[in-house]
Structures are given as C-alpha cells and as structure tokens.
Amino acid sequence: MQLGVLTWMVFFPVLGMAAILLLPSRAHGPIRWTAAAATVLPLALSAWLLAHFDPHAAGFQFVQRNTWIPAYRIEYFVGVDGVSITMVVLTALLSFLCIFASFGIEKGVKGYFALFLLLETGMMGTFVALDLFLFYVFWELMLLPMYFLIGIWGGPRREYAAIKFFLYTLLGSVLLLVALLYLYFTPSPHSFDMTQLGALVRDKIPLEVQVVLWIALFVGFAIKIPAFPFHTWLPDAHVEAPTAISVILAGVLLKMGTYGILRINYGILPTATLAPLWGGHSVAFWLLAALGTLNIVYGAVCAMAQSDLKKLVAYSSISHMGYVMLGMAAFTPQGINGAVLQMFNHGTITAMLFLLVGVVYDRAHHRDIDGFGGLASIVPLYTGVTGFAFFAAMGLPGLSAFISEVLVLLGAWQVYPALTVVAASAVVLTAGYMLWTLQRMYLGQPNPKYAGLAEINGRELFTLAPLAAIVLVLGIYPTLILNLQSPALVRLADQVRAAAPPPQVAAR
C-alpha cells in the first residue's frame, strides 16, 4: 500500500502520540518537543502541498484510495481540492503553533500533548476524508480528546463546559449519522463515496425526503458552526478551555460546520439546496442567509455586553462565522469565495485573539476587561500586537478579514440586499466593541496593580508572528488563496446549479 502525503499528514501526529506515551511522564521537556516535532511534518507537508497543488485540475488531488471494509464498500479514501486545501493548511499551522502555546501547561503534561496530537489527527482527517464513513469516524474522533482537554485542563467551570460541548456535538453527529446511512443505502450498489454520491442519489430520493435529509445534516453542522440557536455551547467551551484549545476550537473546529455544509449539503444534495419551496426561492439559502445575518448581529451584540475578554472573543467568533454562512447562502462567485476565504481568515485572526487573551491571563490570572487599564504604557509590544489583531478582526482595509467580508457582502448584495444592509451595519457594532475594549484595557490611566506586568515573551511572539504575517499578506494580496480555491468553488457552484429542479417548478 502506497502511503500518500495526506495519509502522512493525518497519521503522523498519532505516531507522535505513541512516542509520547512511551516517554516517562516526568520528562516534560522531551514530551513537549516530541509533540512539536510531530506537528512539524504535517506543517512541512502542507507547505509542499500548497506548492504542488494545481488549482485548475478538476477533481481531487493527492488522492489515496484503499479498500477498508470490502463487505460494505467502505474505503480509506482521502484527497484535497480547492475547498479543503486551505483548511488542511490552517489545521497544520494552528496545531503547530498551539503546541508552543501549550508549553506553559504543567498538569498532566503527557496526557495533554498525547490528546492534542490525537485531536490533530481527527481534524486533519475530517478535512481530507472523501468517504462518508471515514468522515464520520474522524468527525467523532475529535470529540474524545476535546472533552478531556477542556474537562481536565480547563478553567473553573470546565466540567460543565466539557460535557455540554460533548453532548451538543454528539446530538449533532447522530443526526448526521441517520442522514449518512440513508444516503448510503439509496444507490445500488451502496456507496459512501462523497465524490460520486451526489450523482448516484439525485434521482432516487424524492425531494421531500431530500429536504428532510438536508435539514438533519444542516442541524448537525450548524451545531458545530455554531449557528444561532445552537450556539450556546460555544461561549462556555471557549471560556473554560485552555488557551491553545480555544484557538483550535475557534480556528479549526468551527470551520468543520461550514465545510460540512459545502461538501455534503451542497455537494451531495444540490437539488434540496436549490429546492424552490417558497415562492420560487430556495428555502435553504434563505435559511442560511437569515441565520448568518442573525449570527453576525447577535454575536456582535452579545460581544458588546461581555466583561470577560475571552467571552467577548468567543462571541465575536459567532459573529464572524455569520459572514461565512451569508456568503455561502448568496452562492454568487464573490459570495462563496468570500465565505471560504473568511473561513481561513477567521481561523488566523481569532487564533491570534485567543492567544493574546491567553498571554494576559497567564500574567494577571483574570480576564476582566474593566480590571486593567493603560496597559499600553506598561506592555507596549503586547498592546501593539493586540491592536493589530483587533483591527484585523474589525475588518480594517489592508488586513485579511476586510477582503473576505467585503467579498461576502458584495456577493450577498446581489441576492439579499436587505439582509446585506443589516449585516454590513453590524460592522459598526464590531468596531464598537473592539475599540471600546481597546480603550478600556490598553488606554487611559495605567492600573498600578499591573505596573510590573511582564512584556510578551519570545515564545508567545513566535506563535503570533506567523499569523500576523499571514493576515497582513492576505490583506494585501488575497489572490494567493483565492487562486487556490476559486476554480474548485466555481465548479461546485456549477454542479449545484446543474442539479437545479426543472424550471417549470421554479416558475410557479
């Protein structure tokens, strides 16, 4: 069996995990560096992948396909295309950086890094899996390490947050499982092949059933995004999780929801996606667009009300994920490109924000926004980096989020002008809570209590600098990513349109 590059990326962290389990539990140094080494290879390979990826090739690349369970036609089938390649790179990058952000962990070091590497395998696998069974296994594989990482190494209410995250996500996944099984049994011979399944089931499932499946899948994914009203696990989980895990949660796990909708809801059930159930409009798109806008506004309003910095960042995540949904719902080339770009940009920016929250929490042991003040004169470098990240999150022109949010709004304007106006106005709210926070924490009279606060150190800067560089480069030259993803997205959109129901229904 030839092991492809993707297989190495997925399973190398597990090898690292095995190595860590063999190390004595007191050997903190070797454990940390082994973990770092285990994430270097996937990162290096992801760079190689970027260099060799051909954006114009139709279909999946770096494919590896082996039979796994022949009796049920379950395969080990992995590959990347323009939709997933940025996510794979993001996963490799954030996992690598988060290992360094976790060097401060002192409790149960061996278990922490072992679980972290298992988590990386789960995330990487989810993005490259092209067999639905494999996808589901990786999707669920993330739950266990995540439960322990939040539950053991988290904050004061960690147990509550961990079990809430666990149950919510499992509830979503069982809905997913029903839909997957139904899809599997529809064609004959049965198939879990994500690349073929759409064509195989299109004419075999009545539209009403397709809509039910679409909704089951959508709820499963919406819990992960998290879309309003399934978002309540997120603030708890993010606030209680240790810094690096918050980064992974917000940076990678949330993207799985939108990725799943693109890949499975759009890719396999295009007819239901476009089904004109209500006055000739696609209800699916309306639902996505409305929930997306709601996410944007609701997340921003909630963020404004927070006094805990980490909770503020968590709600800002909800708000920013709304843009992804809005862009996907618009389904114009700009909209969908903006959405997928926003997935990547949000991953880098929110990672910076959570890392920065971790920096101040490690020193002050609290995150109360009003408990600081005038930090700019005490820790200028830290303030500078924070300012950069805040402005990036606000969508300042020249930084990456600006491009993706504008693309989303441009795309959405052509389809949902009213919603777009609402979404665009929410930018003011975003600027409001970000600037207000900057003002309260970093400007004004320095709080004498924190006069001796240590400046951001080399290790922390090392975790932030690559992200900042990416944010800046993509802000100026977004074509780097757009070129990678655009052909695949346009193709996906064409495929979905091609599956549109006959026009006489639409004209009714």
């Binding site: 009796a71 539950g151 079990i163 069982v174 499982l177 029903v178 599997y184 049994f185």
Partner: protein
Amino acid sequence: MGNAESLAYFLPELALIGALLAVLVVDLALTARKRPAGEWPGTVALLGAAAALVWTIGLPGLGVRGLLGQAGGTWLFGRMLVLDGFSVFFKLLLGLALLAVVWMSLGSREVRGRPNEGEYFLLLLASGLAMFLMAAAGNLLMAYLSLEFVSLTSYVLTGFLPHDRRAGEAALKYLIYGGVASGAMIYGMSWLFGLTGTMDYVGIARAVAALDPASRGALFVALVLVLVGFGYKVAAVPFHMWAPDVYTGAPIPVTAFLAVGSKAAGFAMLLRFFHFGVTAAGPQAVLAAVPFLPLVAVASCATMTLGNLAALSQQNMKRLLAYSSIAHAGYALLAFAVFADAGVEAVLFYLAVYYLMNLGAFWVVMLMANATGREDVEAYRGLAWRAGGAFPAVALAVFLFSLAGLPPLAGFVGKFYVFAAGIQERLYWLVVAGLLNSVVALYYYARVVKAMFLDEPAAGDPPLSFGLGELSPVGVLSASTLLLGIRFGWLLDRVAVAGRLFAG
C-alpha cells in the same frame, strides 16, 4: 444424526461435563480431608472451559473453519440440537465468556477463599454448559430445558454470597421473576404445540406456513408468550426488573457472566426460534398478519429508553452497568425487530463487541472492588491521578466510550451496523430513537469518566497496586476493543456466514 454419532460433535459440551465432574470430585476429596480448596477447583474449571473452546474451534470439519467458512450444518441427537455456523459462533462467544469469567473469578476477592468455592466453579461450568445447549437447541423441549438449566444455576450463583442480604434478596427476586417468565413461555410453547402438532423447529415452520388464517390470533398469543420468556432472559422491558437487583447483589464475575453470557445465549435462542422455528417459510407471509414486529419494535424502544434514563442517576457501578446492559439489549432488539438477514448479522456483531466492552468494564469494576472494597462511582474519583490507577482508568474509559458508541472503538461499529440494518429496512423512527438514546447514554458513561479523570482524588486515598496478571486481561480486552473498531472486516465476514441459519 443418531445419538452415538452425535457424540463426536458434542466434544465441547463433553469437555465441560468432564470438567464439571472433575471439579466435583476434587472438591469432595479436598473437603473430606478438611483442606481448603486452594487453586484446584478454579484451575480445573479453567482447563475445562479452555478445552471446550479449543474443541469448538477445532472440531474436525465442523469447527470454525468448517462452519464459519461456509453455510451448512447438521442435526445432532435426533433433531434436538443444531450444529451450524450460528451455533459455532455462539459457542465461541460463550466459551470465551466462560473462560474469561472463570479467570476473573480466580482473582475475585468475593469468591476466593469461601468454603464452598468448589461449588461455585461447578455451577459456573454447569451454567456455561447450559448456555452452549441454548445456542444449539432446535426443538421446543430442548430449548425450554436448556433455558431452565441456565436459570436454575444462575439463581444459585446470584445468591452465592452467604449472609449477604442483597445477594439473598436478588436471588429470590430472580427466582420469582424467572418462574413467572418461564411459566408464560412454556404456556406459549404449549399453544404452539397445539397449533402445529410438533416440537421440532423445522416442523413448526412448515406447519405455521400452512396455518389456517383463522388461527393467526392464537399464533400471535403463542409468540408473545414465548417472547416473554426470551425477553426475561435478555432483560428487555418490561421483564427487566430483576436485572438491577441481581446485577448488584451477585458477585461481580457472576454479574459479568449474566450480562455477557446469559444475554448472548438468550439472543441466540430468540433468533433461532423466530427466524428458523416460526418463519423459516417466509417471514412476511407469517408475520404480516399479526402485529408481532411492531410489538418488538416498541419493546426495543422502551428497553433502550428506560435502561438509559434509569442509568442516569445510578451511584453504584454495578447498578449503572446493569441499566446500561438493559439499554444494550434494546439496541440488539432493534436489530431483531428489523427481521432480516442484515438484522441477524447486526445482532451477532453487536453481541461480540458487547462481550469485549462489557466484560472489560466489569473486570475493572472487580479490580477496584478488590482493591478498595467499594463499588460506587465515588470510589473512582480521581482514579487516573492516583498512583497505580492510570491504567485501569484509561482501560475503563475505553470500555465506557465504546459502550457509548464513539468511534474509533468497537462499540461504534456495533451500533453502526444495528442502525444501518434499521435504516435499510425502513425502521426510521426506531433508529432515531436509538440514536437519541445514545446521546443520553453518553451522559452517564461520561459521568464515570469525569469522576476518574476530571475530579481530583481525595487527599487520603492510598495508592493502588495491581499485579501484571490482574491488568493484562483488561489490557487485552481494551486493546481488542480499539482494534476491532478499526479492523472489523474479518468479523463481518464471519458474522455474515454465521447469520445464515441452517435450515435443513
């Protein structure tokens, strides 16, 4: 096949009978000399169980290679027992369960050192023998006798701890419930005999297919009454009431044997009776006229839901696992309610997986009970962080998450095939109910995991120390649970053959 010829294919059972007699003799000899039993009875029992297993695997032409490789089979003892892939599969599973439970008992503080230790192993072997017969029974008489045989030995094993009020109460409850259920079952069997005029499964199948439509109501009554007996054996709602008390009161190895062995034997009998005894001539023709399968589906839903909801608040580990095993019987019943080959295969697969994870969980519970004398969840607080506790904690977490059905553990694959069978046969509501149940179930499994990993140990907890001999079976079971979750194709192939009942 006649009686004399059949003996050659009866070697596994003969090995158990031989070991049983040997234990009796050894025990008598030692007691007569007023010596403590020591290692003798247990060792003999272990050898007997191992011999039965070896002969099941190696029976010339009819062992694993003979029967699990291709469909087919033969009748033994003049159409009393069936030897086919199905019975070989269950004999393997039950032999493994017996072997593991004897091994477990050898290290159990509750069992070892009692004056009547010899009796205990004797009863265990007898119970194992009866389960072997249950798996192979192809005649109403044989079925009833073997089921009663298992029940009688189980009653005594449950009450094995003398002067323990819990055990006494449990044994009495078990006996009374068992009496009622077996009475209902034999009543149902007598109806069936009256309707068909035969006790042979194949004869019943033929007669049922040719049954006068006017008698369908009577057939329904007979089937439901028989189902009561089986439902009692597998602890399905509403005949589950004995399970929590019995599981709590019995010594832990006995609990494990009841949960794994007795349940598997019950399902073996259930599947053979309904697929081969009643509906061999075509399930639709016979069952379409009576609301039997909807009844099973409702029982399955009730079993899962009640088991899981009741488990939520349990504080005793044995009781928690008892309710969880009720819930698992519900999942297996779901696959039975599907009433198709896919469902039979799913049940077999599920029981094999269930053997690994449930036995493993009970094993860890026993080790903890040995070490601390406690069975409550509180005793597991911070287990992972206590000296010597990390390995059992990780192993128990593997078993519990597998029971919860999370990939990449074997329990997920088991559930997956059960639900897949349900979807394939369009039992959507039941599958959705089952999936929602697995979310509920996760909560109480995670509660134990939380106690072990997320809570800090109490300050005064002494360090634990387990020997390699105690931990290695747990290690093997948890490694198998993980491996079977990743590589399960081979078991699916075996199950596909074993699921095709011999109908000659």
